[in-house]
């Protein structure tokens, strides 16, 4: 087995080690502290938020803010909309990416090089915001949920990664299936897809996070405030000059937790991501993404 070479740790080296541990631990804590504070703040009373400087555990644990935001139509509708758009969008994105990546992985396919170059070119240059907006408008997709999905249906970068993954699959299996009389469609559906579960899991998560987090598309394409997604609501509520009562269209003059609800909406919009984070991490940690960046 590997023989551990003992070597002298100089004093400087040991000081560095200690310093390194302290600094990196500090960095990790500083990174998550804002999130923990917001989580704690969302369960605190209004007076505690404005009077206590910093806390990770509220003195009085209340859920008023959550009761309040979930009692408003606007917020619930935005949440449900976002969940639906994310679910449908992810399925479409995955389907289009997988079906396009498979033929592009076949080196013998006539015209493959041309199409691959068409894809790669879009990584370097694009029509930009306004021409894309005009295409979406001309298709009649303004104020439609499809505008949040279709313009982003394939991420060219993900497509290339999936294509590289397909190329790595053992050809012998596909070969055997073809000899048994499977056509390419069946080879794809019955042989290739079952072998691709890890990459399907990875990219469904990445696509889902992308749609969930998307702010630019609803900003560009959705005018009707009844169709706003969660990110739009978060933005409207926490902007510097937010008029929370107006955004949530609560006209009754009930007292509502004006500051606390900002904490709560941030938590609700973040939580699904944090929930899926361990799964996300498991896959990208395997290097699925990096391994195939450079072809």
């Amino acid at each position: 087995m590997k023989q551990r070479v003992r070597y002298y740790d100089s004093a400087g080296s040991r000081v560095f080690d200690v310093l390194n541990v302290v600094l990196l631990t500090g960095l990790a804590i500083v990174t998550v502290l804002p999130l923990l504070y917001v989580l704690a703040g969302s369960f605190a009373t209004e007076s505690e938020i404005s009077s206590r400087p910093f806390f990770l555990w509220p003195h009085r644990f209340v859920t008023d803010t959550y009761h309040y935001i979930f009692s408003t139509d606007t917020f619930v509708r935005a949440l449900l909309t976002t969940i639906a758009v994310t679910a449908v969008g992810t399925v479409i994105q995955l389907a289009l990416t997988l079906t396009m990546a498979y033929p592009l992985a076949k080196r013998f396919l006539p015209g493959r090089a041309l199409m691959l170059n068409l894809v790669i070119f879009t990584l370097v240059f694009s029509g930009g915001m306004i021409p894309t907006y005009l295409v979406v408008r001309d298709l009649g997709l303004l104020d439609s949920y499809w505008a949040l999905i279709l313009p982003l249906a394939i991420n060219p970068f993900y497509l290339i990664v999936v294509k590289s993954f397909f190329q790595e699959l053992p050809e012998a299996l596909e070969e055997a299936a073809r000899i048994d009389g499977c056509n390419e469609l069946n080879v794809f559906l019955r042989i290739v897809l079952p072998l691709s579960k890890p990459i399907i899991a990875t990219f469904s998560l990445f696509y889902a996070v992308g749609i969930w987090n998307d702010y630019m598309s609803p900003l560009l394409y959705i005018d009707d405030s009844k169709k706003w997604t969660l990110q739009m609501i978060v933005r409207q509520l926490t902007a510097a000059n937010a008029d929370s009562a107006n955004v949530l269209q609560q006209l009754e003059t009930v007292t509502f937790p004006e500051q606390g609800l900002k904490f709560a909406v941030v938590v609700v919009a973040t939580l699904p991501i944090l929930f899926f984070y361990p799964f996300l991490q498991k896959h990208f940690a395997k290097g699925v993404l990096i391994g195939s960046v450079k072809e």
């Binding site: 990174t31 404005s50 396919l109 015209g111 021409p131 295409v135 000899i179 933005r235 991501i273």
Partner: protein, 331 residues
């Protein structure tokens, strides 16, 4: 390559290719297009939806760029609108906004290169020196998180932490420094520092992944050989670790320079207030104001096209430069 073979394509070791037949370079008879289409019909069928996507949402907008040279009127359409040549570009270059936009965009890019670009390299190198595996993995798990949060969330967090009324950090600084309360989120002076801070918080951890991957690829025998030769930790770092990630740094630098003109629309947009627009306006957000808010599609497209062309020039230029300097470059 074996992967290129398909049963129907496997050419039997044919009798025609026997030695006495002179090695004529007979061009294969061109296969009619429909034959290919028929033979690979399933593959082309699978390809079709994706292809339609690229044509409609990627290449149609590129055709739409022609309106940068026209006075686009929705009623007349792309082809019906009148050609005006470089009018919109002239307007952009001679107009009052150009200098300010360029300055803001480039200053943000410069700040990004100086503060944000090196951060993941430094953190990756520090993580690489960490001997406690458990700690290394925990730190990694925590610092990757912000990458997955939306800019909306990041902007909201910034607001919750820095707002005048109840912002924790704002109050904390106020307690230390005293004096008047500062509205960090709204004020122009604090716009750029906050943007850099957000980028550092959101992207540093995630940025380490690519460098850590490069570092993981270093042969551990190199270190052992160096140790046997009496190299201390600093020397190992200087002569083995650092050279190992140099190509990665070059590639990342090329990619970054290709995006000098992209300021991250969502981030800037979300942090723009009525008080800081003078320093906040960049090309990306300007395109939105001009095009979507004011409806000057042609002018906005011209601005976007200018930005896009500069981006292409930058990425090819820096790739060339990297190759001249003896690095491997990106393509």
């Amino acid at each position: 390559m074996a992967t290129d073979l398909v049963p129907s394509q496997v050419v039997p070791p044919s009798a025609e290719a026997t030695p006495e037949a002179p090695r004529r370079k007979r061009r294969p008879r061109p296969v009619p297009l429909w034959r290919d289409l028929l033979r690979y019909r399933w593959l082309y069928l699978l390809l079709l939806p994706g292809l339609v996507y690229f044509v409609v949402f990627k290449y149609l907008p590129m055709y739409g760029l022609t309106i940068a040279f026209k006075d686009y009127v929705p009623f007349l359409g792309y082809s019906g609108s009148e050609w005006v040549g470089l009018k919109h570009f002239q307007e952009l270059f001679t107009g009052p906004d150009f200098g300010r936009l360029m300055f803001n965009t480039l200053l943000l890019a410069l700040l990004t290169i100086v503060f944000v670009f090196p951060a993941p390299i430094v953190v990756a190198l520090m993580l690489n020196e960490l001997r406690l595996r458990v700690l290394k993995r925990s730190v990694q798990s925590l610092i990757y998180i912000p990458h997955f949060l939306s800019w909306t969330i990041v902007a909201s967090l910034t607001y919750l932490l820095f707002s005048v009324d109840f912002g924790v950090i704002a109050n904390w600084i106020h307690g230390l420094v005293g004096g008047q309360k500062t509205d960090y989120v709204a004020q122009a002076d604090w716009f750029r520092p906050l943007i850099v801070l957000q980028l550092l918080w959101k992207q540093t951890g995630w940025g380490t992944i690519i460098y850590l991957a490069a570092l993981a690829g270093v042969d551990s025998q190199l270190y052992e050989a160096a140790r046997v030769d009496g190299a201390g930790r600093w020397r190992q770092f200087w002569h083995i670790t650092l050279p190992a990630i140099r190509p990665t740094i070059v590639v990342m630098a090329i990619l970054t320079s290709g995006h000098l003109m992209d300021s991250g629309f969502e981030q800037i947009w979300l942090m723009t207030t009525s008080l800081n627009r003078d320093v906040a306006d960049v090309f990306d957000t300007f395109v939105y104001y001009i095009g979507i808010t004011q409806g000057s599609f042609s002018y906005a497209t011209a601005v976007g096209l200018f930005k896009g062309v500069v981006g292409v020039v930058l990425i090819f230029g820096s790739n060339l430069l990297a190759k001249r300097l003896g690095q491997r470059g990106l393509f």
